[in-house]
C-alpha cells in the first residue's frame, strides 16, 4: 500500500505523440497530496493530453506516471478507483435525472448498496443540487450541470479530483459557484485537485501551485506568487503591478498571433464552442 507522504501524481519524462504531432514532450511534474494544482497553458499546449495520460486513457510506458504510488501503466484499475474526473465537455446525461446521473457512477465505482443512496444524496447536497435532484438534467442550467458532474466525480470519494476546464463557458456567478464548491470539498476532505484552466484569475485565487505548459513542455512551475515574483525579477517591474496573466503571456508567447498553437485547431475550437453553446 502506498504511504501517506507519497505525491498524488508524479510524471517523469512524459512524452506523447499523435501521429506526426508531438503533443507532450518530456513533462516532469509532481502534484503534492492535498493541494489544488493548476495546469495552465494556451490551446494545444498539451494539458489535456497530459491529463488523459494520467487518467489511464492513453497508453504510457512503465514508470512514467504514478498516482499515489501506483503506476498507471501497470495498475490501471487501482488508479481509476482513486480518481474523480470531470471532462471539458458537458458530459452529464440530459435524459436522466440528477440522482440517476450520480447513482450510475456510484454503481460503477462499487459504492456498497447499503450506503449508496446516502452517498449519492451527500454528493448532491455538497453541490447544492438536492432540491432539483429528481429533475431531468436536461432542464439544468450550465452551472448546475457542472455541479452535477462534480457530484458524479465525488460520489466515490476519490483521492484525486481531475477537472479539465471546469468553468469554460460559464457566466461569472456560475464560475464562482463551481469554484466555491471545489474549494469547500478540498477543505472538508483533504482531496487533491488537479485542474486545467484558461482563466488566470481563477488559477491565481484558488491554486496552491501552478504549472505553465507551452508546446508540450512545462515552462514554469511554482505558487502563483513565486511565478509573479520571478517575472518581476526578470522584467524589472513591481510584483504588485503584475498578475498571473502576465506570467502566462511571458511564458507562452501568447501576445503573438503567429504563436497560436496548431494543435489547438478546429477540433479543439469546435469542442470548446459546443460546450459554451450547451451551457448557454
Amino acid at each position: 500500500m502506498a504511504g501517506a507522504e507519497e505525491p498524488a501524481v508524479a510524471c517523469r519524462g512524459l512524452r506523447y505523440r499523435f501521429g506526426e504531432t508531438l503533443a507532450v514532450d518530456g513533462v516532469d511534474m509532481t502534484v503534492r497530496a492535498g493541494e489544488i494544482f493548476g495546469l495552465l497553458g494556451p490551446n494545444g499546449a498539451g494539458k489535456t493530453t497530459t491529463i488523459r495520460a494520467i487518467i489511464t486513457l492513453l497508453p504510457v510506458p512503465l514508470g512514467v506516471i504514478t498516482v499515489f504510488g501506483r503506476d498507471v501503466a501497470k495498475r490501471q484499475m487501482a488508479v481509476r478507483r482513486m480518481i474523480g474526473y470531470v471532462p471539458q465537455q458537458l458530459s452529464a446525461d440530459g435524459s436522466l435525472t440528477g440522482v440517476e446521473n450520480v447513482s450510475l457512477f456510484a454503481r460503477l465505482f462499487d459504492v456498497p448498496r447499503q450506503v449508496r443512496g446516502q452517498q449519492v444524496s451527500a454528493a448532491l447536497e455538497l453541490m447544492g443540487l438536492s432540491d432539483v435532484s429528481q429533475r431531468l438534467a436536461g432542464t439544468y442550467s450550465g452551472g448546475m450541470i457542472r455541479r452535477l458532474e462534480l457530484a458524479q466525480a465525488l460520489v466515490s470519494s476519490p483521492r484525486l479530483l481531475i477537472l479539465d476546464e471546469p468553468t469554460i463557458g460559464l457566466d461569472p456567478v456560475a464560475r464562482a459557484g463551481v469554484w466555491e464548491r471545489i474549494v469547500a470539498v478540498r477543505e472538508q476532505t483533504g482531496m487533491t485537485v488537479l485542474v486545467t484552466t484558461h482563466y488566470m484569475d481563477e488559477a491565481e485565487q484558488t491554486c496552491d501551485r501552478v504549472a505553465l505548459m507551452h508546446r508540450g513542455t512545462i515552462r514554469a512551475l511554482g505558487t502563483p506568487a513565486e511565478l509573479i515574483a520571478g517575472l518581476a525579477g526578470q522584467s524589472g517591474q513591481l510584483a504588485s503591478e503584475l498578475s498571473l496573466d502576465d506570467v502566462f503571456r511571458a511564458y507562452s508567447g501568447a501576445d503573438s498571433i503567429q504563436d497560436e498553437e496548431p494543435q489547438g485547431g478546429i477540433a479543439s475550437v469546435r469542442a470548446t464552442r459546443r460546450t459554451a453553446r450547451r451551457v448557454g
Partner: protein
C-alpha cells in the same frame, strides 16, 4: 451555497477491490438500468421506432399474404413474417448504437465511463445488453401488433424466455458490430451512412422475409453467415413451432456475440483516445 453535510463522504476509493464476476454483472446491470430509466422518461422513441416494423407487418405482410407466391411450408405468410419483423426491429435499434457511442465520445461521457474501474469488455457488454433492453421493448411492440393482426404466437413462458434470450444475444451482437465500426470511422456522419448501408442488406440477406431455399446460391452463402438468419430461425421455432435448430442457433448467436464483444472492446480503447 447550501450547508455541507456534517460527515465527509466515505472514502471507498482507497480500497483496492478485485473485479469478480459479481461486480462485472453489477456493472452490466447498471448500464442496462440507465437504458430503462431513459425509456421511462421518454416514451416517444418507443412509438417512433414502432412505426417501421408496423409498416412491414401491416402493409408488406398483409399484401404479400394475398400473393401466396412465397413457399412457407404451410405457414400463413403473415405468421412466417412476424418473427422476421421482430428480429428486424431489434437489429435496427442495435445497429445504430455506434452513433450513440460516438456522441458519448464527443460529449466526454465515454472518457468518464472509461475512467471508472470498469474493464473495457464490461463496458461493451453493458452497452450491448442495454441495446438488448431496447430490443426487448421493440419485440414487445411487434408481438402485440402481430397478435392484433391475428398471428398466433406462442405464449408458453419457457418459449418466451427463449425469445428474450435470442433478442438479447442478437441485439448484443449487432450493437458490438456497430461499436466496432464506430471505432473504425470515429465520425457520426460516416457512421450514419454505414448504418443505413448495412441494415437493409442484413435484413434482405436473411430468412426474415423469405426462406433461404429460394435464394440464389451466392445469397444463400451470405444468409448462412448472417447471424440474423439464426436469430429469425430461432424466433420462428420458439414463437410458431416451425422446425428450428435451436442448439445451433443459440450457439451461433452466443459465439458471434462473444467474438463481437472482444472486437468492440479493442476498438473502444481507440474511441477513448
Amino acid at each position: 451555497m447550501s450547508e455541507l453535510p456534517a460527515a465527509p463522504l466515505v472514502a471507498w476509493a482507497d480500497v483496492d477491490r478485485a473485479l469478480g464476476l459479481r461486480r462485472l454483472i453489477a456493472r452490466v446491470y447498471a448500464l442496462c438500468l440507465v437504458e430503462v430509466q431513459k425509456l421511462r422518461h421518454d416514451r416517444t422513441e418507443l412509438v417512433m421506432r414502432a412505426i417501421q416494423p408496423s409498416l412491414w407487418l401491416v402493409i408488406f405482410g398483409t399484401t404479400f399474404s394475398r400473393l401466396r407466391s412465397i413457399p412457407t411450408s404451410g405457414v400463413a405468410y403473415l405468421d412466417f413474417l412476424a418473427p422476421g419483423v421482430l428480429a428486424q426491429a431489434t437489429v435496427f435499434v442495435s445497429i445504430f448504437y455506434g452513433i450513440q457511442v460516438i456522441w458519448e465520445r464527443d460529449a466526454g461521457v465515454l472518457a468518464k465511463l472509461m475512467v471508472t474501474p470498469t474493464p473495457r469488455a464490461a463496458l461493451v457488454t453493458g452497452k450491448a445488453f442495454a441495446a438488448g433492453v431496447r430490443g426487448l421493448t421493440q419485440a414487445l411492440v411487434v408481438y402485440v401488433l402481430a397478435e392484433i393482426l391475428g398471428v398466433r404466437l406462442s405464449l408458453n413462458p419457457l418459449r418466451l424466455l427463449g425469445v428474450v434470450a435470442v433478442v438479447l444475444l442478437a441485439a448484443a451482437f449487432f450493437c458490438c458490430l456497430s461499436v466496432t465500426v464506430a471505432g473504425l470511422v470515429l465520425s457520426r456522419d460516416r457512421m450514419m451512412g454505414i448504418g443505413q448501408a448495412i441494415t437493409m442488406p442484413l435484413f434482405f440477406a436473411s430468412n426474415a422475409l423469405y426462406p433461404i431455399d429460394i435464394m440464389p446460391a451466392w445469397l444463400r452463402v451470405v444468409a448462412h453467415i448472417n447471424p440474423m438468419s439464426y436469430q429469425v430461425e430461432a424466433l420462428r421455432g420458439l414463437l410458431l413451432g416451425t422446425p428450428a435448430r435451436l442448439p445451433l442457433d443459440f450457439a451461433v448467436l452466443a459465439g458471434a456475440t462473444a467474438v463481437a464483444i472482444a472486437t468492440a472492446s479493442a476498438f473502444l480503447a481507440r474511441l477513448g483516445r
